[in-house]
């Protein structure tokens, strides 16, 4: 695992140094001293990331066959991955739907979907909480904290 991590860090650092920093960080042409340039700090961090990645690979190779921390195993890794994928979809849907549906209704749907995803044994309680929690939070943030909670284009709350 440590070797994978190290390789990932090296690839990330190379991407930063060779592509991301030159293309996505702009610097004025009249910078007199390199250490004052907006490019300097990202390059230093990129270089250090590559060095740490290298050290991770080297120490990881010495420790192959033992010493790496182990994650807690689960009974159904395949289904676990499916649930993770569903969670990613749920988050994306929440983000994209919120401006149109409003935060309250989106939260209600997200609550129900997540409770279903984690296989709740209390569906009735989950359903009630899915309605009550977003409404209570709406009341607090909209009417106490004066936050303009997105209402969406369908149903508007007072």
């Amino acid at each position: 695992m440590q070797v994978q991590l190290g390789i990932g860090a090296i690839i990330g650092a190379l991407f930063l140094i060779l592509y991301a920093i030159p293309y996505w960080v702009s610097s004025p042409s009249n910078v007199r001293n390199i250490v004052l340039s907006p490019l300097f700090w990202p390059y230093i961090l990129g270089g250090l990331t590559a060095l740490i990645g290298l050290a991770l690979v080297l120490t990881g190779r010495q420790r192959l066959g033992g010493g790496d921390p182990v994650n807690e195993p689960i009974d159904d890794p395949r289904q676990g991955m499916m649930r993770l994928a569903a969670m990613a979809v749920l988050m994306m849907a929440t983000f994209w739907v919120m401006p149109w549906l409003g935060m309250v209704w989106t939260s209600m749907l997200a609550f129900v979907a997540l409770a279903f995803l984690v296989k709740t044994r209390h569906p009735a309680t989950a359903f009630i909480c899915a309605i009550v929690v977003p409404l209570v939070l709406y009341a607090f943030f909209a009417h106490v904290a004066s936050v303009a909670i997105p209402q969406g284009e369908l149903v508007r709350l007072p």
């Binding site: 994306m92 997200a110 943030f141 936050v147």
Partner: protein, 496 residues
């Protein structure tokens, strides 16, 4: 302003029901949050943060400090009753607390945990009051090179001791520093990784990043392993801790409190090492050392004193230097910023009323913790029975509202989701999240102080070693790197 004037100004701020109630509510939230495995004190503080936005700054910060202190104690309740630490700092409490619970003495163990926690918390608060002002007045003479060396030292310690290896901690800190470069350049105002998106020009929202890193991964973990939290709750039993037992353990409690204060005041070390060190010292010195690990009440007292001794002391670097001592104080620094306050030496000059108000509130918090903790011990069963698979969807919804409320921006919700996945992947690869967050906060300060130093010296790096203070921090940094590397190599050799 004289000391009396400062105390009076502080009293004027917190001598009202709102402040007292904020603190008490904070302690209740913290104890309950800490007592629920998977919520943790860190997540409780992060989730409570958005609710402080409409409050007066002092009340909001007191509420968060209450959550912090309550959360650290609350973590001991599931540690003793279900052998699952509510916070990482409570891991040492399991060693003797759970065997006591299995013997039907959970009430006694929890009672001692509460007494030790409150005593250590009080000692820690006194240490904060005595040392923070002194340190702040010393730090007033710091310039950019001194701050650069101090922040670098803090990041080194945080990266070195937060996780299982220095390299993973360093990688985490570097990722945090890289993320902090997003936005407009501090000096020239040019774009850095903004992709032309105005949402990114001000940098990533700190609260979205922290909630994403510390709350969302718990939700994702629950999705990955929905039944991983199941545990059997032990009964409290009829035995309760006595004053004679408290007296017998008092030396260990005071020793543990001072260990907590010492380790807590060094940025980055945190409560868990303090708890384990206090526990091992108590075992070494105790006449009952043979009983440690089998249900010795002194073991519970020592570990709880160690982890609660940290709670006030972590505020010393936060208030005096503006450097968060651990993840929770890193979140609390966010509350200061949201309310337009900048912790650091200048706060002791410009906002002395808030400083003294906080001191008074913290002293009160030890008493409130004693009352709330006592009630929480008896009322734990309903808390333990809250179905976690209902709780996590609630956490998700709370996060969405809380993060949106900071800037009224849905983009921040997206940042939080992305950071949630980053946090989840980091936890799978055993990369500690604490250095990431603290580096993200300190990153702009580190770079700013570096560039100011370079501007002052015309680009000469000699300025970074300009006086005894910078030399002191550079020496500490080198010592820390050598010590952590040697420790890691020794551990690897003993494993091999």
């Amino acid at each position: 302003m004289s000391l009396i004037d400062s105390v009076m100004a502080g009293l004027a701020l917190v001598g009202n029901w709102e402040a007292f109630l904020s603190l008490a509510i904070g302690v209740v939230i913290g104890v309950v949050g800490g007592a629920i495995p998977g919520i943790s004190a860190t997540m409780a503080v992060a989730l409570a943060l958005p609710f402080t936005f409409p409050m007066q700054p002092i009340n909001g910060i007191l509420l968060l400090l209450g959550v912090y202190k309550g959360g650290i104690f609350g973590g001991s309740i599931p540690a003793i009753l279900i052998k699952t630490p509510g916070t990482p700092a409570s891991s040492a409490t399991i060693l003797d607390g759970h065997p006591m619970a299995e013997r039907g003495e959970a009430g006694r163990a929890l009672g001692m945990a509460l007494w030790a926690s409150c005593t250590a918390d009080f000692v820690s608060n006194l240490a904060l009051i005595f040392f923070a002002g002194f340190l702040a007045s010393f730090a007033l003479s710091f310039g950019p090179p001194e701050f650069f060396a101090l922040i670098l030292f803090s990041l080194t310690i945080i990266a070195g001791v937060s996780g299982e290896s220095l390299l993973r901690g360093a990688l985490s800190a570097l990722l945090g520093l890289l993320l902090a470069t997003i936005g407009l350049d501090l000096v020239y105002g040019t774009n850095r990784f903004t992709f032309g998106d105005p949402n990114l020009m001000g940098g990533l929202n700190f609260i979205a990043v922290l909630i994403g890193l510390f709350a969302i991964p718990e939700v994702i973990n629950m999705v990955w392993h929905p039944t991983g939290h199941m545990g059997k709750v032990q009964k409290l039993g009829s035995k309760w801790v006595t004053f004679a037992e408290y007296k017998r353990c008092f030396r260990s409690i005071i020793r543990g409190s001072f260990i907590g204060v010492f380790l807590g005041s060094i940025p980055g070390i945190g409560a868990a090492p303090a708890a384990f060190l206090s526990y091992s010292e108590a075992r070494r010195k105790s006449p009952n050392k043979a009983n440690f690990g089998k249900g010795e009440i002194e073991g519970v007292a020592a570990s709880e004193a160690g982890n609660n001794g940290v709670a006030g002391a972590t505020l010393i670097p936060l208030l005096a230097l503006g450097v968060p001592g651990d993840v929770i104080t890193a979140i609390i620094i966010g509350a200061f910023m949201v309310h337009g306050l900048q912790p650091g030496p200048m706060m002791f000059v410009l906002n002395v009323d808030i400083i003294y108000g906080l001191f008074i509130g913290l002293i009160l918090s030890s008493g409130i913790l004693f009352v709330v903790g006592g009630l929480a011990i008896r009322g734990f069963r309903p808390v333990a029975d809250i179905p976690k698979r209902i709780l996590m969807p609630m956490v998700l919804v709370l996060c969405i509202y809380g993060v949106f409320a900071v800037n009224n921006n849905i983009f921040d919700v997206g940042v939080m989701f992305v950071m949630g996945w980053v946090g989840f992947v980091m936890s799978r690869y055993h990369i500690p999240a604490a250095p990431f967050l603290i580096a993200f906060i300190l990153g702009p300060l580190l770079e700013d102080n570096f560039r100011q130093s370079m501007l002052m010296s015309g680009g000469s790096p000699d300025i970074l070693l300009r006086g005894p203070i910078t030399w002191f921090f550079w020496t500490l940094t080198v010592i820390a790197i050598v010590a952590i590397t040697r420790g890691t190599m020794r551990a690897a050799q003993s494993e091999g």
